[in-house]
């Protein structure tokens, strides 16, 4: 530690610490613009100049290393003169039109100018004018205001992982811009808006819509990916106007993904459902809640009487709260059915009987930085988990080795040590090779439950390199991504990966797809005997014994021909044509049912026009209700509504409670969402005992056999979920829908396949899965594995297709 003094107060900082670090510790504010604790030190704004005893000139606090015994003065005459001088320089070319600037009221320059600026300008020359740039649909520019602090440039290079902004030109002519004709497309781009200390980079969607002092700030939690980013939601007249990061070093640090930041535009979408709607005689009509709820209750009772309780099923979204999902499962279980699930995009449920707890990250998010080796399996990492990807990039920067097994070779913006880009049906065998390699490396026995499976496998060099990487660099971790979780052999992937982790002494984790992926298990929104989490599960199980139908069974996917679907469905916060593994089957199963109740914040166009819904109940999105999400690291985060529900919208937990009451089920007497939560979680909300990735004694199927082969004789589809299609809210955020990441899906395939099929780029082809067919233009991506076609799922233009990773055929049109 280095001991020194600032303004007479003693302070000590670690070696390599700066004067600014010391000041921060003491709570002494030193004015600054370019300095940012998460970015490299540029020392270019010179606003932080301070006096240092014995130094002939003022020194920048942000960059000056602390020295033993040094005496620093932040407010001495020399320091203040220097700071005022810099402020004058900053202002000469800065427009002094704060009243019309979007940053007004939250501008560091404005704040400091009040303290350090002179009242009259000595600058009488013409001011510089800089033309604005088009950086895309999210960031609006007012480049004349730029003070060249380069925070935005450093953000791209150091955090975003991609340099999209730069400072071109030199001297007074230097300008921040993107390369000619390019926009800023990173999934973390919005952070530069927060970083910009002036009004040069501002939010395009928010622009000119409100002044900061008109906004009230409320805390919330992101409902999107599994990270659980902490949010500040800003409100004006009961409308969400803007979302900003709430700093939490252990979760999102001071960042937000663009999805977390700009999705709120979807909350104000015109598609919001504001009154219940019922379809009668094929015609949709709005109605009051009483009518709607009675209709639902009667409908459920009818189905139960006619077809038995087992023909009722409930599907919820893992973007819904713990409380909502708990009441959803309680409702169906109360009716006598165990058919409840939230895993609508999962296709392999063989592990269910062996699960020991809720699958989770297996470690705290913050510890990712300490990892020295990682294996990520089946993940569009940057798009599914933008800030986890950033954490991993930082780990790699600190020396970690990143290994990847994936069907897609998307740029992770960081060094990948070993990669196996293989067709979906080769993921299992690739993993088996890695397992074989660690087994050999460690000289241990092959685990019994994989003996059969591994008998024909021999490890490739890549597999050996991955095994060695995990084994030799500690701590290490293996993460299972969304793609792997949707994979037709998820259970085998999981099991093999766990063995690898165990033998190589690595952590093992599942990257939670949604904000409440962990919570959904704990709430009991799964059809099997739920020993962990749901204390009420016993009642349902006791009465009916045995597990209920999982999502796939409910949606008739296992055997669509026999039409094993349910007769009544309650859907919570889902659009089945976009949110399920096989949308075509899902829609078919729903269409065949007697009753489909959709609880949703939106008038889902497909449901209304497509005829697979009978009732629409307007429920509150996360901003209009209280609730709890349990993040992928098992962190329980409760939040309150930040605005009143729109129109006649009601929080889903209340709707389910009333339904329970109407149906005269026991235990639906909650007054608050906190009471619901208390019913699910133990005192103190510590769920760690229920987090467990182990799959017990599940045996791995023979490597070359299994479900996948059914669908892989010909071409395989790689049907990942695009970043801005993952949930109902983000789908309706217009600015996000205008980004490059939201571009309509294309039929991506390697050039070799194009040649084989005689296809040209941009040629529109017919893609078929079963009876489902869509037409899409061809696009070339030579990094895709042979015989694979990447056709995104969860998009209206591909919703007519079948399974995300099933066989697909191509015809020229």
């Amino acid at each position: 530690m280095i001991n020194f003094e600032i303004d007479g107060k003693p302070v000590s900082v670690p070696k390599n610490g700066t004067v600014m670090d010391g000041a921060n510790q003491l709570g002494i504010y030193i004015p600054h613009f370019c300095y940012h604790k998460k970015l490299s030190i540029a020392a270019n704004c010179r606003m932080c100049l301070v006096q240092v005893e014995k130094a002939p000139k003022p020194l920048p606090a942000c960059a000056t290393p602390a020295m033993e015994g040094m005496k620093v003065f932040t407010h001495s005459g020399q320091a203040v003169t220097a700071q005022k001088g810099v402020m004058e320089f900053l202002l000469i070319n800065h427009p002094l039109d704060c009243p019309i600037c979007d940053q007004g009221g939250e501008c560091q320059l404005q704040d400091l100018a009040v303290g350090y600026g002179a009242s009259a300008s000595r600058y009488t020359e013409a001011k510089r004018v800089v033309v604005n740039k088009n950086l895309g649909p999210l960031i609006s520019t007012d480049m004349t205001r730029c003070i060249h602090c380069t925070r935005c440039v450093r953000f791209g290079q150091e955090i975003g992982g991609i340099m999209e902004l730069g400072m071109a030109g030199r001297g007074e002519h230097a300008e921040i811009l993107a390369f000619v004709g390019k926009t800023v497309d990173s999934e973390l781009s919005g952070n530069v808006i927060d970083l910009c200390p002036v009004g040069a980079l501002v939010s395009k969607p928010f622009r000119y819509s409100a002044r900061t002092w008109e906004l009230s700030r409320r805390k919330s939690i992101s409902p999107h990916c599994g990270l659980g980013s902490n949010l500040i939601v800003q409100i004006k007249q009961n409308r969400v106007m803007r979302v900003l990061p709430r700093e939490n070093e252990e979760i999102n640090e001071c960042w937000l993904s663009d999805k977390d930041r700009f999705s709120y535009e979807g909350l104000n979408s015109e598609e919001r459902l504001t009154r219940p709607m019922i379809k009668q005689g094929g015609v949709w009509q709005e109605c009051d809640w009483q009518t709607a709820l009675e209709f639902v209750a009667n409908g459920l009772k009818d189905v139960k009487e006619k077809h038995g309780a087992e023909s009722i099923g409930a599907l919820g979204s893992a973007h819904s709260t713990l409380e909502e999902l708990h009441l959803l499962q309680k409702l169906v279980r109360g009716l006598g059915s165990a058919n409840v699930d939230h895993r609508v995009r999962q296709s392999d449920f063989r592990a269910d009987s062996q699960m020991q707890g809720a699958p989770w990250l297996g470690m705290p998010v913050a510890e990712i930085l300490q990892l020295r080796s990682l294996l990520v399996i089946g993940s569009t990492l940057r798009k599914d988990h933008p800030l986890l990807a950033h954490r991993i990039r930082q780990a790699v920067k600190h020396g970690a080795q990143l290994n990847v097994i994936n069907p897609i070779d998307d740029d992770l913006l960081t060094k990948v040590r070993n990669r196996a880009i293989v067709a979906p049906d080769k993921i299992v065998s690739t993993l088996a090779e890695v397992l074989k390699a660690v087994v050999e490396l460690k000289g241990v026995e092959i685990p019994d439950d994989t003996k059969n499976a591994l008998s024909t496998v021999s490890a490739s060099d890549t597999a050996r390199a991955m095994a060695a990487s995990l084994n030799d660099n500690k701590p290490a971790a293996i993460f299972i991504g969304n793609l792997a979780q949707h994979h037709p052999r998820y259970a085998d992937i999981c099991k093999l990966a766990q063995h690898i982790a165990q033998i190589s002494d690595a952590r093992f984790g599942v990257l939670g797809e949604a904000a409440n992926s962990v919570g959904a298990y704990i709430a009991g929104a799964v059809p099997f005997d739920n020993r962990f989490g749901n204390r009420n599960a016993d009642t349902a199980q006791g009465r009916h014994g045995g597990p209920g139908a999982n999502a796939s069974q409910m949606l008739g996917m296992d055997d669509p021909a026999s039409g094993t679907g349910c007769k009544a469905y309650v859907l919570l916060n889902l659009e089945p044509e976009l949110d399920s593994y096989n949308p075509r089957h899902a829609v078919k199963a729903l269409a065949a049912a007697d009753l489909v109740v959709m609880m949703s914040a939106y008038k889902s166009r497909a449901a209304i026009e497509g005829g697979h819904a009978d009732v629409l109940l307007p429920i509150a999105p996360f901003t209009e209700t209280s609730g709890t999400f349990i993040s992928t690291e098992g962190r329980v985060q409760s939040f309150n509504g930040v605005v009143a529900p729109l129109g006649e919208t009601r929080p889903a937990w209340k709707v389910l409670r009333v339904l329970g009451n109407i149906l005269q089920l026991d235990g639906f007497d909650y007054e608050t969402s906190e009471q619901v939560r208390a019913d699910v979680l133990p005192a103190g909300n510590d769920v760690s005992a229920w987090l467990n990735n182990s799959l017990g004694s599940l045996a791995v199927s023979p490597i070359e056999a299994g479900k996948e082969n059914k669908g892989s004789e010909g071409l395989q589809r790689i049907g990942e979920v695009p970043i801005y299609q993952a949930d109902l809210i983000v789908r309706r955020s217009e600015p996000l829908q205008r980004t490059r990441d939201a571009a309509a899906p294309l039929a991506w395939m390697p050039g070799s396949l194009m040649a084989q099929l005689g296809l040209q780029s941009e040629e529109v082809i017919r893609l078929k899965q079963g009876e489902g067919e869509v037409q899409l233009p061809v696009a070339q991506d030579d990094s895709l594995p042979a015989n694979c076609i990447r056709v995104a799922s969860a998009h209206p233009s591909t919703a007519a297709l079948g399974g995300m990773f099933d066989q697909i055929t191509v015809e020229k049109s």
Partner: protein, 158 residues
């Protein structure tokens, strides 16, 4: 995108730097590309970025930072006259006047026939030979009296 000959030159430059520091060759690569193409188009810069494995915007930063890169189409001969103080003390301004008169253009302008572009330059490190100028960045002409300027223009107009 660039000729084989240019690529060969860039490849030679690359041998000067450690294998993981390809970006170090960006200045010479841009100079070589400019020699071939006359000026640096967006496509050329993009190509260089790809060739050296660096972000396009980083190439653009470099291209716009250093004065001798042409980011606009220019005349066949770019004449850059140093007008800095030492040269000015020894006739640089008179030389500029001569060019203005003879070519009918000012700084940053190109003659109608597309032959000459006139540029103002900063110190070229040859102040003892004032006035000095550069033709197309690479040919330095010294002691540019009016007669020598006339002679130069005559040679270049051939």
């Amino acid at each position: 995108m660039l000729s084989a000959e240019s690529l060969k030159k860039i490849d030679y430059e690359l041998t000067k730097y450690p294998a993981d520091q390809k970006q170090s060759a960006v200045m010479s690569a841009l100079a070589i590309a400019q020699d071939e193409k006359g000026w640096l188009t967006t496509e050329t810069m993009d190509f260089v970025a790809e060739y050296l494995d660096m972000p396009s915007i980083a190439v653009y930063e470099v291209a716009t930072f250093y004065n001798m890169y042409n980011l606009q189409p220019i005349g066949k001969y770019k004449i850059t006259v140093c007008t800095n103080l030492p040269c000015a003390l020894s006739g640089a301004n008179e030389a500029v006047t001569r060019f203005r008169e003879r070519l009918g253009i000012g700084f940053n302008e190109t003659t109608a026939d597309g032959r000459f572009t006139l540029k103002e330059g900063e110190c070229m490190g040859a102040c003892g030979d004032a006035p000095v100028l550069l033709v197309n960045n690479k040919r330095m002409c010294s002691f540019m009296s009016n007669d020598r300027i006339d002679q130069l223009l005559e040679d270049l107009s051939k």
